[in-house]
């Protein structure tokens, strides 16, 4: 379950439709209620089909609103979410007032309880997961091109609308299935968190999807384990929290985009700049002499030029200068480097 969410979530995140999951999971409610009203059974599959239909309806209405009117997607999402959910609640309360209805348990869908799943449901989920996987592989190229350059895909003659609908439908299916496990509210996190975490580690779609699937699956497993080990802990929230830990970890520690490394790079750049400043000043002095390695007093450097004992030591370490007592002299290597530094800056200014 976690892995399928992760995979499809990658697409949602990259398409800037992250909250679609949230909206659809709410929009599925009236479908469940109507399916129950019509059939009068609590058969999981029937209810799921109802949820699927109303989820799809919600998803396509959202697309319609953003396409045809000037309302923005966030408004459309919020609108559909709340209206469908409200309507669902209306139906649910209406059902509860009906005589002889074995209505109890319908609201289980709202908050989900993985522990109540039967083996049959698990098999059902597994098969849907593998179908999704197959379709994903089949249409891999199309999905990818649509994601990053929809116009290009159109000029190549792909049927954009079809692919678009395909992706949306799969997201809806995943959500509807996930409802049983983690519940309406937490579904969106299941969809988003693994993908957002995976995004931090890679720029390649394929790797990202795999990673997201892995993150999703492991947060599912770990979350379930934690919730099983303690009583009174419902599964859904724990899974979400585990996924959130993954996200925070990725945000901070990912090598290329993470906050930690960004900060380190930032500090490093600043230090480099200071060193370069000192070196440039030295270069100016050394330029005036015939012998570039002519020694000068350390004293003529002051704080303003970025001079500290440490920075001098660092420059010496890089063999740009030699320090002897209270005198310093430039090495040819340092002279060249400083000269080029100057040129580079000049070029950039032009």
């Amino acid at each position: 379950m976690g892995s399928i969410c992760g995979m499809l979530g990658s697409f949602a995140v990259l398409r800037k439709q992250s909250l679609l999951g949230d909206a659809i999971s709410h929009a599925a409610l009236p479908g469940i209620a109507i399916a129950f009203l019509i059939t009068g059974t609590k058969e999981t599959n029937v209810l799921l089909i109802g949820a699927l239909v109303s989820g799809l309806l919600g998803a396509f209405w959202i697309r319609g609103i953003t396409k045809r009117t000037h309302l923005k997607s966030d408004t459309a999402l919020g609108l559909i979410l709340s209206i469908f959910f409200g309507f669902g609640m209306l139906l649910l309360t209406y059902i509860q007032k009906l005589p002889n209805a074995n209505q109890s348990g319908l609201d289980k869908f709202l908050f989900g309880q993985a522990a109540t799943l039967l083996a049959r449901d698990v098999w059902f989920m597994a098969s849907v997961t593998s179908i999704c996987l197959v379709v994903l592989l089949l249409f891999w190229k199309e999905f990818k091109i649509l994601l990053f350059d929809a116009d290009y895909a159109k000029t190549l003659g792909f049927n954009i609308q079809f692919i678009d609908i395909l992706i949306t439908s799969f997201i809806v299916i995943a959500i509807v299935l996930g409802l049983q496990t983690v519940g309406v509210v937490l579904m969106s996190a299941m969809l988003l968190a693994p993908a957002a975490a995976a995004r931090q580690w890679t720029n390649s779609l394929g790797v990202m999807v795999m990673l997201a699937a892995f993150f999703g699956a492991s947060s599912g497993v770990i979350g379930t384990a934690i919730s099983a080990s303690q009583n009174n802990l419902s599964t859904g929230p724990v899974i979400v929290l585990v996924a959130a830990v993954f996200v925070v970890f990725s945000f901070i520690f990912s090598p290329s985009r993470g906050l930690l490394f960004r900060q380190i790079r930032f500090i490093q750049n600043r230090k480099d700049l200071k060193l370069h400043k000192t070196l440039a000043f030295m270069f100016e002095i050394a330029k005036g002499h015939e012998n570039i390695s002519h020694p000068h007093a350390v004293k003529i450097l002051n704080n303003f030029h970025g001079y500290t004992r440490k920075s001098l030591g660092k420059l010496e370490q890089k063999e740009y200068i030699n320090v002897a007592g209270s005198m310093w002299s430039m090495t040819p290597k340092g002279y060249h480097f400083a000269a080029n530094l100057y040129n580079q800056q000049g070029n950039e200014n032009e």
């Binding site: 995140v13 800037k16 439709q17 992250s18 909250l19 999951g21 949230d22 709410h26 319609g64 609103i65 045809r68 009117t69 000037h70 309302l71 923005k72 966030d74 408004t75 459309a76 999402l77 919020g78 609108l79 979410l81 709340s82 209206i83 959910f85 409200g86 309507f87 609640m89 209306l90 139906l91 649910l92 309360t93 209406y94 007032k97 609201d107 709202l110 908050f111 509210v185 937490l186 969106s188 996190a189 969809l191 988003l192 968190a193 957002a196 995004r199 931090q200 009174n232 802990l233 419902s234 859904g236 929230p237 724990v238 979400v240 929290l241 959130a244 996200v247 945000f251 985009r257 906050l259």
Partner: protein, 386 residues
């Protein structure tokens, strides 16, 4: 109508108004989903407040809840500022986490208390009148009426005080900064008002309805007008309308009031979405079609202008040359005839003076691509006004 019924409707109306005002700005600022996020992430704040006071009715609860709403906003902004993910993803990450924390805190520590997620998400308006506000033993009306009424008064007061600032910073944040207003201050001010309103209202109507009441009236009004003041007024009207009719619908069906209010809001939106004069789905489709025909008309007239030969100007020739279907050629011909741009003699079409004039101007416009040219075409020929 009993007094309880009147009170319920009064509360519903006031909630609707109190939500519609900040909602309008949220929709305009493209932050509609923040309201959804806030309404969920209030939960941990409520639970914490409850741990502190052990009293479900203490004002600290509301304060803590509003605080956690603001914390949500700050967190979302923080994640967004790191540029690691987009804003919507940031929202989607923050609120489920906060909500889960809330759920777990309830499950671990307060299982026996009446603080279940159902009550928070759905609220129950019907019980609102039974929670009276008593001062020295005298009955001053339902408690939630007082709470939400105060919030409404504050909101309206702030709205009048900062209307100009809100307006400028909503539509042109850069200009607002240049003029010396602080958009950030206004942003957080708005967010605080929104989160206090959500907290105050959800007690009465539940979290989901709050979101619906914030977004739906504003979105509906936005389809109808571009004027901020009109939009505010309209969204208040829609909110109140759905509050009252929603109540009666619920009364009739014997179902949840907040659910039926949302449903009415949905129906109102759907109606406007389909039938709004300028932005509605139907009028948009109609206009697209109209524009298509007008462009075809232009093509057709240019074609006529280029060909003097009789054979090229025969009615039946159109179908094969420009490759239009029969229906389309007919509607184009009709439009041209109606505008006196062509005359048809014995199935031969020729341009009138007016048609010729129009074609010349159109060619001029196409060649120069100068926008002032098309303005005069619009005025002279009543075309291309879509």
């Amino acid at each position: 109508m009993s007094s309880a019924q009147i009170e319920i409707q009064l509360i519903a109306c006031i909630v609707a108004i109190a939500c519609a005002i900040p909602g309008t700005f949220l929709v305009l600022r493209k932050m509609a989903l923040i309201s959804d996020a806030i309404s969920h992430s209030i939960l941990p704040g409520l639970v914490l407040g409850f741990f502190i006071t052990h009293d479900l009715n203490s004002p600290i609860l509301i304060f803590m809840a509003a605080l956690s709403g603001v914390v949500t906003v700050v967190l979302v902004e923080f994640i967004q500022k790191t540029k690691l993910v987009k804003e919507d993803t940031a929202i989607g990450l923050v609120f489920p986490v906060l909500f889960s924390i809330g759920v777990i805190m309830i499950a671990k520590n307060a299982n026996d208390v009446h603080l279940d997620t159902d009550a928070i998400l759905l609220g129950e308006l019907a019980f609102a009148p039974f929670d009276r506000f008593l001062v020295d033993g005298s009955d001053l009306g339902p408690k939630s009426l007082w709470i939400i009424g105060t919030i409404l008064l504050i909101t309206i007061g702030l709205l009048f005080a900062f209307f100009k600032e809100l307006k400028i910073s909503t539509f042109d944040a850069g200009l607002a900064t240049a003029l010396g207003f602080s958009p950030i201050m206004i942003h957080y001010g708005l967010m605080s008002v929104a989160s206090i309103t959500i907290v105050g209202s959800f007690d009465a109507v539940g979290a989901i309805l709050v979101v619906a009441l914030m977004i739906a009236p504003a979105a509906t009004a936005y389809l109808l007008t571009d004027n901020l003041k009109k939009m505010l007024g309209l969204s208040v009207v829609f909110g109140v309308f759905s509050a009252i009719s929603g109540y009666w619908l619920a009364h009739w069906l014997d179902a949840s009031i907040s659910g039926s209010m949302t449903t009415v809001l949905g129906i109102v939106f759907l109606t406007v979405y389909l039938f709004a004069p300028k932005r509605g789905l139907i009028s948009v489709l109609y206009r697209n079609k109209q524009q298509q025909i007008e462009v075809s008309l232009l093509t057709f007239l240019l074609h006529l202008n280029n060909h003097q030969e009789i054979s090229e100007r025969h009615i039946n020739h159109l179908n094969e040359h420009i490759n239009w279907r029969r229906v389309k050629s007919k509607s184009v011909l009709d439009l041209a005839l109606k505008n006196n741009m062509i005359v048809i003699e014995k199935s031969i079409i020729s341009l009138t003076d007016k048609g010729k004039n129009f074609t010349d101007k159109a060619i001029d416009y196409i060649i120069t691509n100068d926008h002032s040219k098309i303005e005069s075409i619009k005025e002279d020929f009543f075309l291309f006004r879509g």
